[in-house]
Symmetry: D3
Amino acid sequence: PNKVREIWASGGVVKNGWLALESTMAAEGMASVGWDSCTVDLQHGFADELSARQLFQTIGRFDCTPMARVAWNDPAKIMRVLDDGCYGIICPMVNTPEDAAMLVKNSKFPPQGERSYGPQRGLLYGGADYAAKANETIINMAMIETREAMSNLETICKTDGIDGIYVGPSDLALSLGHLPAGVPTNAEVVGAIEEIVRRARDCGVVAGIHCGSVEMAKDWIGKGFQFVTVYTDFVAMVTKARENLTALNE
Amino acid sequence: PNKVREIWASGGVVKNGWLALESTMAAEGMASVGWDSCTVDLQHGFADELSARQLFQTIGRFDCTPMARVAWNDPAKIMRVLDDGCYGIICPMVNTPEDAAMLVKNSKFPPQGERSYGPQRGLLYGGADYAAKANETIINMAMIETREAMSNLETICKTDGIDGIYVGPSDLALSLGHLPAGVPTNAEVVGAIEEIVRRARDCGVVAGIHCGSVEMAKDWIGKGFQFVTVYTDFVAMVTKARENLTALNE
Amino acid sequence: PNKVREIWASGGVVKNGWLALESTMAAEGMASVGWDSCTVDLQHGFADELSARQLFQTIGRFDCTPMARVAWNDPAKIMRVLDDGCYGIICPMVNTPEDAAMLVKNSKFPPQGERSYGPQRGLLYGGADYAAKANETIINMAMIETREAMSNLETICKTDGIDGIYVGPSDLALSLGHLPAGVPTNAEVVGAIEEIVRRARDCGVVAGIHCGSVEMAKDWIGKGFQFVTVYTDFVAMVTKARENLTALNE
Amino acid sequence: PNKVREIWASGGVVKNGWLALESTMAAEGMASVGWDSCTVDLQHGFADELSARQLFQTIGRFDCTPMARVAWNDPAKIMRVLDDGCYGIICPMVNTPEDAAMLVKNSKFPPQGERSYGPQRGLLYGGADYAAKANETIINMAMIETREAMSNLETICKTDGIDGIYVGPSDLALSLGHLPAGVPTNAEVVGAIEEIVRRARDCGVVAGIHCGSVEMAKDWIGKGFQFVTVYTDFVAMVTKARENLTALNE
Amino acid sequence: PNKVREIWASGGVVKNGWLALESTMAAEGMASVGWDSCTVDLQHGFADELSARQLFQTIGRFDCTPMARVAWNDPAKIMRVLDDGCYGIICPMVNTPEDAAMLVKNSKFPPQGERSYGPQRGLLYGGADYAAKANETIINMAMIETREAMSNLETICKTDGIDGIYVGPSDLALSLGHLPAGVPTNAEVVGAIEEIVRRARDCGVVAGIHCGSVEMAKDWIGKGFQFVTVYTDFVAMVTKARENLTALNE
Amino acid sequence: PNKVREIWASGGVVKNGWLALESTMAAEGMASVGWDSCTVDLQHGFADELSARQLFQTIGRFDCTPMARVAWNDPAKIMRVLDDGCYGIICPMVNTPEDAAMLVKNSKFPPQGERSYGPQRGLLYGGADYAAKANETIINMAMIETREAMSNLETICKTDGIDGIYVGPSDLALSLGHLPAGVPTNAEVVGAIEEIVRRARDCGVVAGIHCGSVEMAKDWIGKGFQFVTVYTDFVAMVTKARENLTALNE
Ligand SMILES: [Mg+2]
Ligand SMILES: [Mg+2]
Ligand SMILES: [Mg+2]
Ligand SMILES: [Mg+2]
Ligand SMILES: [Mg+2]
Ligand SMILES: [Mg+2]
C-alpha cells in the first residue's frame, strides 16, 4: 500500500513535507506534523545517500509515504533510495520522453525496467512480497522544469510508468528567461504552470508543484494540482526564527 | 571581544538563538537570521561534542557569540566546548554556591580556575592572545531551575566568576510541583521567576530566560531580563510546518 | 504503554535483543526479528549517544520496547537516552542501595527523582502526555554483577523505583575471582546467579540475565528469569559467519 | 601481492565475506573470521564511499584481500575505491564486451586504461611501488546477471583485463522472467548458471557466485566456481538472531 | 566578489591550499594559514559531498575563496558543491572542447548553462543576489592532464566560460607514458607543462598547477602560472611528522 | 605484547605520535611514519569515542602501540577506549595518590581494579587470552601537570599499577603561575620538569613528556625521558602549511 496512491485514487490532494535537512530529528519532527508523504531532497537538500536511509528509517513509523527527489536520472542513484524503502521518486529535469522512459527503466524491476535487485531495507519495510509488488507500488513523478520539457509534455506524461509530474517553478523560470522566485508572479511562468497542470490532467497523470507559500499551494490546488509542497523544513525553520527575531526587535 | 558582554555592558538585551538540531546547515540558517548569540544545547538538544564543534565552526563567520548549554557541570564537558571556541557556558542545575564555584573552576584557567590548557580551536577563533584573554572573555551563566537554587540564589549570584543566571522554567515548574509548560501560567512559577530576576539584578548579575513564545520573552524583557531565547530551531521548524499544514487543510 | 511492563504484568518472559552495533540497518534487522524489547548497549557496545538516538528512531516502528544499557549511573547519560525516547534503563554496577537510589533519582522527574526536563524525542514517541506518564512508564533495571551487589541484593531490590535486576555474568565471575565465560559453568558463579534470581523474586522484582547461548537462556527462564538476552547482534553475526566459513571449509 | 590471485593461481577456491553493513566493527568482526577476501558492497549494501574507506582501513590488518562491489560501471566510483586501497572490483551489470572494456578502462592506469592518479591510501596500503604494480595486482570481476550478458559471455570473458566473472542469481532470475530467490531452484536459472561457469572456464577466467546458503556454495564449487560468497554480514546477523528467538520461543 | 578573480585581475598569483582531509579542524587549520583559496578535493581527497559542505562552512569565515576539485565532469556533482557555496570548480580530465563546454553547462545557470536552481547555502554565503551574480562570480578551471587535452588545448581554453586551466602533472605523466612524480623531472613532461602555460596565456586564460614542492611552485610561477598548489594538507602533515621522527632518530 | 613495554624494558625511548585529528586517513598517515606508539587525544584532540575506535582500528595494522589520552579519570571513559583495544592510558590531572589509585582501578579488571568486562574489540585485537593478559599488558601513565601533583610525585609514582608519568608542560606552567608555551623557557617550569624526571626515575617509573619541538624532545631524552611526543598531527600539518606559504611569499 502507498498512501499517496490511495489519496490520488480517491481524487484527493497529497500534502507533502520536504526534507532538506540531513537530521533524523528534523525528519521525525516533520513526519510528526502529519504530512501525507515526506520527500528527502537529494538534489538541493543536505542529506546524502547514507543519511537519507536514516531519514527513511526514522519516518517509517508514521503513516506517511517515504519519497525522494533524486539528484539525477541515474540508475545507481534511483536504485539506492528504492533499496532503502523509498516508495516514490521525484526525478529532476525530465525534458524528453526518453528521459521519462529512462526514469521508468531505472525504477522498475524487469520486465518493466532494469532496476537491479537487492532491496534489503525495502524488504524490511515493504515485507516479504516486496519483489512482487514494488513495480506497482512505487510512484514515479517527472519534474517539468524547462522549456524543452513543456514542449514534450504530452509524450512525457504518456510514457508508460509515469504516475505524475512535478513542477519546479524556479528552474522553469530560469529556463524561460526569468529570475527564480519562491512564489512566481511573472506572467509567462504562471501561464506555463497553468498549461502544465491542464495538459497533465488531460493525459491522465497527477500534477504536483513546489510552492513558496501556503497561499500559492492553495491557489494551485484550486487549479487541479493533487500534490503540493510548501517550501522545506529548513526554510520553515529559518522563516519562523526570522519572524520571532523580528517580533522581538519591534 | 564578546558581543554578549558588549550588549550587556551597554544595558541592552541579548536575543539568543537556540541550536537543538545537530545539523550544520540548521546552525548556519539560524545564525544567518541575526541572533546576538547562538547556544548549542548539549543537554536536551541533538548535537554531541563532535558535531557541536562543527556547529561552532559554521557560525564562526557571523557576528554572533558562540555559546553552549552543557549537559552537566563537569570539567571534561565544559573544557571540551571551550577548547572548541565557545565563548559562553550555560550550566544546568546550579543549585548551590558550591555548584556555582565548580562552574567557575571548570571554565577558567588558573589561577581563577582549573581548566586544562589545549584550546586548539579556541586559538584559531580567538587569536594568539587567547590564553591571556579567555578568563575575562568567556561568560558563565548558572541555570536557576530548582527550589533549592532559589533558596541559594544570592550566594550563587555573588559567586566570583558568575556573570549571569538563566532560568529554566520547565525544570523550575517540576521542582515546584507543577507540570512543565512552554509558557508558564501557574502563579507560583511565574512568581518565582519574578523573584529570580529581581534578586539577580540586585546582586549585579544579568538574568536570562528560556521562553515558549515571543510574547513571553517580551514580557520578561519588560521585567528586567537581558538575555532571552525563544524555544529552539527544532521547535521553530515544527511550529511553522504545523502552521502550514493546518492552513492547507482549512 | 510499555510492552515489557505488560509482559511482566502477565507473568511472561521478555525476550530482549541486544544492539551492540552502531548501525541503524543492524538495529532495524534486529527489531524485525520480533524481540519484545531491544537494548542499545552504551557501555560495551559500539553506538554513542548520537547514534543511539538514531537506533531508537529506527526501531520506533516496531512493537518493541526501546531500552538502553547506559555506560554509567550518571545523570547526564541517563537523561540523554530518556530524552531520546528510551523506555527502559539497564544500569551497570549497582552495588549498593545508594547506587539504586541514584539510578531512580537520575531516571525520574520530580518529585520521585531529579531528571531534568526537555524530552524532545520522548514527546514525539510518547505523545503529549509524556511528562505526566514517564515516571510510571519507564523501567529501571539494576545490574547485579559484583560480590558487593550480592551482599546488598535485598536493599537494592527494595529500593523504591527499581523494577528489576539484570545479571551480568562476566563481571560477576571476575568479581568472584573467576575468568569470564559466555556460558558460566563455574559452580560459584552459577550458584550466585541462582541465589540472585531467588532473592530478587522474593523481593518482588523481575530478574533478567545476559546469556551466552539459547540453552543458557532457557535454563534460567526455567529458574524464574523473566527477561533474557542471548548475546548481541554483533556476536550473532560473527557466530553465523564463522559457522558458514567452517562449513565451507569442511 | 593479492591473496585472491594467489589462491586462484594455485587452483583453489576463494571464500569471500560480504560486507553490507556500514559499521567498522562489523567489518572487523567479519574479517576476523578468516575470509580470504572481504567485499564492501557499494551497490546494495549500506556503506557509502567515505565509510567504505574506513572499512578498508579496518580490515587492512587481516590477511584478506579488500574488494568492492561498486554501484555502477562508472570511472569516478571505481577510481574512488581503488584510491582507498581496494584490490578487486566486482562490477554489476556487465552486459556487453563494451561494458567489460569500460570496466578495464576505469580500473587501470594508462596505458591499459584511463584511471586517474592520486591513490593516497593505495600508497599507504600497497607501498611505494603501488603505481608500478597496481595494474597487475588489482582484480576485475564482471557481473553476469542478465540474459544479454549471457549472450555476450564469451566476448566479455575474453576482454583483456577481465580476471573473472561473478554471477548475480537474483538479477539473472529477474532478467530471465522469474522471481529472485536466495537459493535458485528454477530450472532455467540453474541451467543458466551452469552454462556460465562452463563457458567462463572455457574462456580461461575464474567464475564466482553469490549464494544464499552454504550448501548452494558447496554445490557450485563442485561445478567449478572458484570464488563464493554466502549471503552477507547483515543476513548472517538476522539469520542467527531469528534462529535464536525461534529457539527461545519453542 | 571572488578573491581569486580579484588577484587574477590585478595580475597576481593565487596561492591555493588543498584540502584532502575530511576533517573540519584540518580545514580550519589550513584556512587559518592564509591561503588565497582552499580547494576541497572530491576526486582523490577524503571528503564526500556531505563533509565537503561542512568544510565550506568552516572556511567561510576566512578571506579565502572556497573551491572544489570535483570527481567528474558531472552535472549532479558540480551542482552539489555550487549549491553549498563553492566559488570555483577545478574539473578533472577535460580533454576536448566538448568536455569544456559540458563543464560550463554544468556550472552556470541558464541561459549560459543548465545548472539547476536550489542553492540554499549559496544564498547564505553569497547573499540575496546570488542567483543574479553566480554566473559571473564562479570560476571554472579545466584540468589539462592528458595527451588528448594537450592536442585540444586551444579550443578548450577558448571555450566560453572557461576561466583557467589546471595542470595535473601525475596524470599527464602517465598519459605521456611515464610514471607519476610529485616533482616531474622527465623532460617530456616538463616540456609539456611549459607548452601548456605558454599556450594558455596566449589564449587569455589563467594557468594553474599542482606542485610537489615549494621550489617547483616558484619555478612555475616564474614561467607564468598564476595559481599554484603545494601538495595537500595530508601530505603536509605526513611530511612534517616524518621530518620530526627522522630528526628524533638521528 | 606491547611494543612500548618492550622498548622500555630494553631501556629505549618511545617516540610517540599524537593523534588530534578525528580523521582515519590522518591516523593512517601518522602510523605509516613509524611511531612506536600513537596516542588518540580524547581530552584536547578532535575525535570522540566513536571515531577514536575507528582510529584504533585503522592503526591496528602497524607495529605501533595504540594509546589514548582520556578526557578525565573516569571509569566509563577509560573502559571505553580499553574495550576498543587501546593498550595504554595517559590520564590527565593525576594530582594525588588517590587519583593514581583511581586510574588503576578504572583500567584493570578485578582483582587489581574494577574495570567492567566486555572488550569486544579488545578480543579481536588482543586475541582469545585478552581477559587473562590485559592487566599486565595495558600501560598506565599519570599526567603530572600541577603544583599539587609535584608535591605528591613520589606517592603517585609508587602507586601500584602506575607504569609511568607524562608531563603536561602547558598546564604545569599555568599551575605554577606562568603562561603556557609550546617550548617552555621559564626557569621555574624547566626546573620543575627536571625535578619530575629525576624523581620519577628514582621511583622506578618511566617519564614521558609532551614537546613543542624536536629539539625540546631531544633535550629531555638526554635528561632521562623515555617517552616523547612532538606536538600533534594537526600542528604538524599547520606548521608545514605555514612554512610552505611563507616560502611561496618570499
Ligand atoms: Mg529544479
Ligand atoms: Mg532544565
Ligand atoms: Mg558488566
Ligand atoms: Mg545484481
Ligand atoms: Mg589528475
Ligand atoms: Mg594538560
